[in-house]
Each structure stands twice: as structure tokens, then as C-alpha cells.
Subunit: 342 residues, 4 copies
């Protein structure tokens, strides 16, 4: 085996000081050790081929201070070594391979609720299936949602679930039911008959779910129309420019944003959002945190590529995200209550 | 608005009986109503354009029994109407848009533990990050894991975390630490020094995590080698044919399988697995449930496309999956204990 | 080695007739041979372990006619064996692992041009980058496009390219240029100054690209507005319901559709499309081919899951698709010209 | 409309000099203009709301030199403004939305062939379907391939195609054929009977395809074994450590690498590759170009996240990539021949 503290190589040009001279080693590759050949030239060798008695280079520093210099930016430009000019693993901006700090997100949500911030939730229809719908309604009722941005479909399938028990014609185990392809049209028809979503809630047509929670908790919502819409619902804003105006009334006073499983609405919201909240009177400036949840890295990258650089990506399933987030938020809120009572 | 019970159209050839004659409607499309034109020919019209007083076709049946026949399979072949020969939404086999029945998976795991089944867990390195690692170790210690299949990397990064606190050089908040690119090599080196993973556990070099839980709980594991491996660890089986033989000793007596975030190991296991467990003595045959968890539909489809048709896909993040599954398994196990005590 | 014509196993329950009795083999798995154990029970063994002299089951038929019966549907339901009730590989509906028949698509496009069909092209902004834009303009000029459906962004970035040489601020090598984030706003401003896209073409402000080809070839286009839009361009229809009406004037007479790299516009178009073209006068019914091109399987599955079952998926990059399709269309058109001249 | 040369905003803190004072504007957002409110404070307004006569800020510079300073890095840290400390669109490292410079790749391949470089092609089975297989064989025969790295499956399905006309049991139109699930096993069996792939080529068992081209052109190949393998073929190296040794004999003298549609083999190769080629005698150092082709960004990011930062990502379908690349390489080679003849 190698001695503790052996130097572990990178794939970059690496200069090793041997008897006063800086030398490039033979057979360069990463994740290996440096041994000295008989002619005084270092060689890169995988640990398993190093034999007892061979001289092995020691050290952790890559800046030459301990006799080994890794030339991270010289040959191939800055990107060779990652954006920080150092050889690193996991330097990508967004990856499903990175851990998610739910504790920090929970603290942010509870903080914002305490300080009366305006937290925008931007959601796609994927939040609706089974437990996701109940969990999001919980967040609304508990005061974590300042405004909800979504499309016609979010409200349609939420109301389909409230009135007929399916989403997109599937039951809560994911199985399409007979005649289910028409259920969302029947739900839309009932809301049209009532006149609006609040009217349908008042008349008892809608008795649970996200729209019910929004209406009964007095939380505003914006349903943006699109060419994909069936119906649409009477509450949907079909003109894109008018809808942007209504959304902007919220984005201009946003203090945080969470985007879940929608490219269209997330990018639209990102376009309108400043990267900071500015209090003109006090002059205070605070960054606006943007959490973007999607099942692939692509939507988050797309959002960043259109200028919303501060978005923080969480690559997961919408329903599982909501489940785990609620778990941590409940813990955080309980901990604060205990601390406050003490 | 439309009357309750209106017929909602599909995009398929649809015959409507009008005064004894079967007629194809004008302007066919889905999600719309059927009205009668002045010349006795039906027309497909979106609900919002139907005017009060217009005759609207009523009914739910699509088989002609109520005067409307949807020709699901005639023109375009079976696939036009989805695999069941009926117009349906959400008929895809695997989709992130489908709900996940964690309750059912929890019942299966608790059942298998009770009956002493041999449940195979096949895992990729994505399970390791932050909470995922702890949760998987919990499943091992609680007796839900019959055997663990993984690669060299799963063990390496688990032991990197146990010895140096990082996975792939990231801390548990996903930030690369200085010198972190070498940490997995240092972890490997320590295990090589100890001689094996069990020896490293015994000497206190490895004090927590998945490998620790396996060794201390006496649960077997198979670490398959691959050309991507660093090290490899002394416990890794580097010969693919020999490794298949060891894996097959487990697949031949498997009663259930869960695959998380690995294409290589999942497909390898699928290749060896029968679709059923057969007890030669009693003659009993039972299907083997295969749960395949991945962040995209592709791996699940690939697995099915290579013959493992019975795989059930769950499209989500590995760590969140484990978190939510543990939540449901704890509930299920507690409920049974309560029921057993009553 | 095994004899030519050996029976190759599946993972399904398989009955082998041995001396008049049907027997289940031991150690079932796929891709293996059947040998006879000493006690007259068959055993599944990988080819590499079969020894010279061992009796090996021969045959290709799985229906029992040659002594081997694969029970494809009995135990686990229809899906175990794939939709056709037979053990198959590659039975998924949409997969990047399937070959693409460009020759057939080319024949369809040339056929439709010859018979004067109304072919709808539905495109997202991904078609614009470098060669994609030129190639799509070629299809327009050559008469393969009946109408183009897209969003404000398609036109904006096409005109950004015509006027300032970038798309989304990148040059044609994919490198962001200085100040490039504002270029699409400058392009929009010039069109607003001209009054409309056709006016900007007439005044020479737009001299190449897709919108130029559409205007100068007299091919209609529909630019659907959305909440993501900058500007918007004067030609963009900002009201979703009004836009659906204009799109439907085209879908009702569509004879074929090609959708490239857009979920929103593809699903919107799918919603309106019948699965067949019906000539009310002659009574003739023909299926409408729908080709859906995207870089992942998800959009195609989503389209099918919302009822557009007849969509045929091509999983590739938008620009490469257009390049290869043009290559085949040119060959097909040339071959017909040669044949016609002979 | 706005005047040509208007300042187009970002979402970052932006200071505007008004009568000698630097002021933050109201209602910040990107893609808009700056107008002056009556009280001398600037306001961000979308172009469509600017009225004739309103004073609009002019300028392109964001460094304060023309009176407008965009504070790209101050508030939120470096990443807010993208890696270059400037507000940019499309700053992601890998994206399917970026154009691909096939001309440059073609020049590189032709250059390397001319100078006798050692170009490594690393390929997954996705290259095999229909045209991809023929095109890759063409590259081999034309001298563009120094060595081919792949797995057992690449060779198996290539030989399945040569001997039985299918890949993974599909015909070249992507349709599974009857009994096709066994065809790859029959192909393997024939090679085992012959003794090796070269022997099977010599005996005329394999008459076309990639393996045929490699054998008849004398180009070396490395088939790495894995636990997924059927057979395996006699030519497959089943021991991972031994296989790494054989691969390293090629990576140590590599001058360029192209990786197509394989995570396992690409990351394995990346692990062994230096980022530069060093001629110990002349002291010359040249960067090694790595082109990584995959249908999603994930594999490329994963490769970079494991230290192969210099990989250049091309997000497309393997077969279409090969088709388009051949098109450009043929043009480049012909152009050089013409130039050489002149």
C-alpha cells in the first residue's frame, strides 16, 4: 500500500521538483501516485503497481510549495481546471449527483413566513399526483405561500381530483380509469357553470386540494393561459401580456421563489425577477433566493442560460420533494416553537 | 356551459347515430362536444363555442351502445388507441408524471422481511450523498436487505465518507473541498492497508455507513468490478464472469428486487433474474417484484427493452426515494406491531 | 459451443416436454440453454457452462409445437411479455435506441408535396442554431412546409440572427458575444419599428432565415404568444384562445405534421388534431402521420399520454435531424425526377 | 419603439448616473429599458410601455464608462453573473441548445490522420443501429480510427447484424422480429465456434460491419467485459484490471479521443487520459481534444465532474452524429485533395 499522505495525481501538467529541477512525469493520469524512475524522471503509477521500497512523492499542496506544481490553467485555458482554477471533482453547477440541503430550505421558508416575506411558488401539473397535491395544500394553509403561479392545467387537474377523484384520468395509483380522458372536461364544465373557482368553492363543488386551500386561505394565484389549455377555466388569464402584468405585480415585491416542475412558468417568472430585493426607503438590498426543482438538469440550466444565474437546482421528483420538504419544515417550525417557549 | 353527461370527444374516427344513420362528424378533435349542424351532420365543437339551445350529444359509452361508436382500432392499427384498444390518457408504461405508491412498496418490504424472503438491493453511487447513505444503512440494520449488489464505487465513496467526510470530494452540502479529488484514493489506500472491508470495520477504520452496516449485520454484498474502478478495493470482484457466478447464487433464490440509480448493475441483475420464484418441492410459483428507481425513464425502459418486462419504474431522486420509503416502512411496521399487540 | 438451433431461454415460466411430461426447468433466466439433469429435470445453463455431451434442447418455437412452451401471459399478466404477448426485446414505444427510417420520412414529405397536402411544421427555438436555421429555410423554399407553428421566440431569435448574427446572444460556434444578452431585444425593436415581420422583410431589415423564407415564399405562419415572451413581436398572437382558433384553421385540413423540439406547441397542436383526414365529399379517410422529434423520450411520451397516440418518436438533436432529413429528401426528389424523365 | 442603442437591462444591481449621482432604478428586471421618473429616479420599463417623449437611457457598456454600471459580482458572489463575471445568456458548459461545429471536428480528424496521431474511438451499442454501423465502419476503413474501445455488447450486436440481420432483435426499421431475442446468443455461439472474431472474419462468418472493418484494416480494438455481458465473446477481456492495462497502452499515446453514447467506457477512458500529449524527446506539449457525444447533458457533466474537464460535449443522437460528421469529413478531405492537387 501507499504511505498516508501520498500525492494523488491529476490529469493536468504537473511539475515535480527532483534534485532542484522541475520535471514533468511520464505516463500522466489522475488518481495515481508519483514514483521516481531510475534515471531521475518521475513516473505516474497506479497505487496497485507501486512496489515496496519505491520512492513515492508525498504532499497535498498543488501550488509548488511542497515540491509539486499542478499547472491548472496554463495549457488549456481556464476551463480545463474547472471554474475555480483548481482540479476538482463535482464542479458542475447543477447535477442530480449533488446532495440537497433540505434543512437550509426549511429554515429559509420558516424565516420568510416569520418576517412576512412574499414567497412565490411556481408550479407545474406534476405536483398534483397523489400526495403532492395534499402536501402543497398543506403549505398553502400553513402560510408558506405568498402567491401561486401556475397554468390552467394545474387548476383543472386539481379540480378534476376534487370533483372526480382522478388527475389526467388516472386514479391515485396511476391507473387510467374508464372514461377518464373526459374527466378534466367535466371538471372544467362544472367550474364554468359556477362562474369561477372561488364561486365553485363557495358552493361546495370544490371541497379539497390546492385551489380550495388558496381560496379559503385568501392566498392569491395567477393562472396563465396557453395554447395547450382545455376550457379554459374562467379564472385563467388568456392574454399573455395582460398575464405578465399581473405576475409582475408579485415579482416586483418577491423575497423568494420556489419553482417546481415547469419550464414555461419558471422561465417566465425568471424573466421578470430581479436578482435582489431593494427597499427604496431603507436602501437595504437582499439577494432573492430562487429554488428550481425539476426531474432533469436541463430546465435548471435553461433557466440559468436565460439569465437567471442565481437559481439553485434541485433535481428530483416533484411529489417526493414536497414530501421531504414538509418533513423538514415541520421539524424546523417545531424546533423554533420549542425554543420560543423556553 | 354544457349539460352534465355530455359526450367528450376523442381524436379517433367516431360514428354518431343521427336519425338511424351512423355519421362521421365534421372538424374532429379531442376534448370537445358534439353538436348537430342544420343539415343533420354532427360537428365537433369546443365547449366554449356551444350556444344555448344547440343539441348536444350525451353519453359516456364509446362502444355504440348509447349511439356513439369510437373506432379505436380500425384505421390506424392497435397502437392508435393505446395498448388496451381504448382511447386513454397516461397509457405510457413508465413516466415521471405517474404517482408512486409508497404504501404498497412498504407493505411488500415488511411482508418479505416477515416471511424471510431474499430481497436484493442493487444500488449505484447516487444513494450515497448525505441522507441517502444513512437511510440505506438503516434499511440494512433493520433487516430489509437480503444482499446488496453494487460496484467498487459505492463502497469506495461510502468509505470515503466514513473516513474523510466527503463523497466524490464534496462535503454533505455538495461543495467540493480542497484536495477532495484525492480523498477516495486515500480511503482505498486505508482499506488496502487493512486487507479488506470487514478487517477495516473490525479495526475501527470504518465506523458508520452502508458497508459498516452490512458487515456488522452479517448481510452479504457483491462488489462488481468495472473498468471505471479506482483501486480497486480488495473486496471487489474484478472478473466479470466470476462476479456473475456470485451474483447468480443470489438471483436464483431472490424473492424481490429493488434497483436504485444504476443502469449497469440493474441490467446485469435483470439478465440473471427469472420473472418468478419457484419452489421445486411445493411447486408454488410466485412472481418476483422488481422495483426500478431512476431519475429518468430511460433506464427503466432500457431494462424492459432487454427483457425485464416486469420491472416497475419509479422516476425520482435516489436519496428522496429512500427518505420517503423509510417514512412509509416505519409507519407500516409500527401499524403491524400495534395490530399484533392488540 | 452449443449446436446451431439450440433453444435460447427467456425469464418466463417455460415448460419443457421430457418423456411425455411438461416440466419447469431449474435455475430459470434468459439468454441461456436448456440441458437435462440426471434426474430428468431440465436446467437452465449459460452456454459457457454446457459441456460436450450434455443433451441440449433444440428449437425456436415458443408455443409448445416443438416441445417447449413459454407461458408469456399466464402468471404476471399481459405486460410481463410486452404488449404483443410474446417475449421480445426492444418493445418500448419510444427509445433513442431505435433506428430512424429517414428514407420513409423523406418519401412521405415528397409525396405530400406532390399531392398538395397541408403539412404542418411545429418548431421550437432549438431549430435555429447555425445549420438548423438554414436547413429549415431550405425546406420552406422548396415547398415542403404548408404552415409553420411556433412561438414568439422562434421568430425573435431567427431575426436576431438575420440582423445581428447571434441566437440567444451566441455566435454560430456557441460562444456568447459581448453585450449579446441584449441582441434579441434590439431585433424586436427593429421589427416593431417596421410594423411587422413582412414589412421588415420588404424594407430589407430581414434578408435571410426562416421568417424571410416564409414571407417571400408566401407560406403562412402562426406565432403563439406565451408568458415567456419578450417584446412581443407585432405578429405574435398574445391571446391563447384567439391563437387556438387560428391554429385550428390549419389543423382541420392537415394531412401530416412534423413537430421539432417543443413540448408546448406540439401538445397544443396534438390537442387539436384528428387522427385522420376525412374528405367529406369522397368519404375517403386517411391516417395523419405525426412525426415528433425531441432530444428525449419524455416529450413524445407526454404527447401520447395526452391522447396523441399515433405520434411517431424520433429521439435526436433538432439540427442534426434537419440535416439528415434534407439529405434523404434531396435523394428522394432527385430519384423521382430521374424516374419521371426516363 | 425604442431608439437604436437603448440600454437593455439585466436582473443585477445596476447603478445609473443621474445628474452626477449614481442611482438604483425602481422595478428592476432584465430585457427592458431605463426611463427617468419625474422625481429623478430611474425606472425599469419593458419597451412596450415606453411612451414617446420619455427620456430613455442609451449605451451598451455595463462598466460605468457610459454612465451605467452593472454590479455583476458584488452582491451575490461570482456565480450570479456567470463564470466570467458578466451578465450573459447561454453560459452553461454543456447544452443541447448550443450549436455543434462539425467543420472543426472534421478538420481535427483529417489533421490527425495526416499527422499519424493515435485517435481513440470509445463507443456504446447505440452506434450500431442501421446507418450508424455502416458509417462507423467507413471511418475505420478510411483510417480515422487509431483504436476502438467498446464493450462485449458492441461486438455482439454488430456480429448479430452481420450474421442474422438484426440488432438487439430489431430489424433495421426498429421492429422486433420473431425469435429475435435469441439472435445475439446465436451470433455469440458462432464466434465461439470459430474461436475468435478474427477467425470468424477469416472463415467468412462475418462479412461486414464494424468488427469486420477493424479486422480487415488491422485496427486494434479493446472489448471490455462487464457483468451485463452475454457470452462473452472469446475476444472480450473479462478482468477489469487486466483490461485497464490494455486500454492504458493506448491512452498513454493518445492524441485525441471521441466518445459516443457510453457512460461506462467514456468515464473509464477519461480516468486514464492525461489532458495533454507530451513528447519526452522534443519536450512538446499539446492538449488532447476529447469529444463526448451523448443524447443528454448528464453523461458529459458526469465525465467532467470526475475530472475530465476538457471534454467537449455534443448532445445528439449517435447515428445522426456519425452521418453528419462523415458528411463534413468527406468535404474536408476532398477540399484538401483539391488544394493539394492545385
Amino acid at each position: 500500500m501507499l504511505p498516508e499522505g501520498f500525492f494523488s495525481t491529476t490529469n493536468l501538467p504537473t511539475y515535480v521538483r527532483v534534485r532542484g529541477e522541475w520535471k514533468l512525469p511520464r505516463d500522466p493520469r489522475m488518481d495515481s501516485a508519483l514514483v521516481l524512475d531510475g534515471d531521475g524522471v518521475p513516473r505516474v503509477v497506479e497505487g496497485r503497481y507501486v512496489r515496496a521500497g519505491q520512492p513515492v512523492a508525498m504532499g497535498m499542496a498543488e501550488d509548488g510549495s511542497e515540491g509539486i506544481f499542478v499547472h491548472a490553467t496554463g495549457l488549456l485555458g481556464d476551463w480545463e481546471a474547472g471554474p475555480e482554477g483548481e482540479f476538482k471533482f463535482m464542479s458542475s453547477e447543477v447535477s442530480r449527483e449533488k446532495p440537497t440541503d433540505y434543512g437550509e430550505m426549511a429554515r429559509l421558508l420558516v424565516d420568510e413566513r416569520e418576517r412576512g416575506g412574499h414567497f412565490i411558488w411556481v408550479v407545474g401539473p406534476a405536483v398534483l399526483h397523489s400526495r403532492g397535491r395534499d402536501t402543497l395544500a398543506w403549505f398553502v394553509r400553513e402560510g408558506y405561500v405568498g402567491v401561486l403561479f401556475g397554468g390552467n392545467a394545474v387548476a383543472v387537474h386539481d379540480i378534476e381530483s376534487a370533483t372526480l377523484g382522478t388527475t389526467l384520468g388516472m386514479n391515485n395509483r396511476g391507473v387510467p380509469v374508464e372514461g377518464g380522458h373526459a374527466f378534466h372536461m367535466r371538471a372544467i364544465n362544472r367550474v364554468r357553470a359556477a362562474g369561477s373557482i372561488p364561486a365553485a368553492v363557495e358552493r361546495g363543488i370544490i371541497q379539497d386540494g390546492i385551489m380550495h386551500a388558496l381560496v379559503t386561505s385568501g392566498v392569491p394565484y395567477v393562472l396563465a393561459g396557453s395554447i395547450r389549455d382545455d376550457g379554459p377555466l374562467p379564472d385563467t388569464l388568456t392574454d399573455a401580456v395582460r398575464c405578465q402584468e399581473v405576475m409582475k405585480e408579485h415579482t416586483r415585491r418577491a423575497t423568494g421563489v420556489i419553482m417546481i416542475a415547469t419550464a414555461l412558468h419558471s422561465i417566465a417568472t425568471g424573466n421578470m425577477l430581479p436578482s435582489y430585493a431593494w427597499n427604496e426607503e431603507t436602501g437595504e438590498i437582499r439577494p432573492i433566493t430562487i429554488i428550481c426543482v425539476d426531474s432533469s438538469e436541463f430546465v435548471v440550466s435553461k433557466l440559468k442560460d436565460r439569465g437567471t444565474h442565481q437559481a439553485f437546482g434541485v433535481i428530483t421528483n416533484a411529489q417526493d420533494f414536497l414530501h421531504v420538504l414538509r418533513f423538514y419544515v415541520e421539524q424546523e417550525a417545531a424546533a423554533r416553537q420549542t425554543a420560543g417557549a423556553a
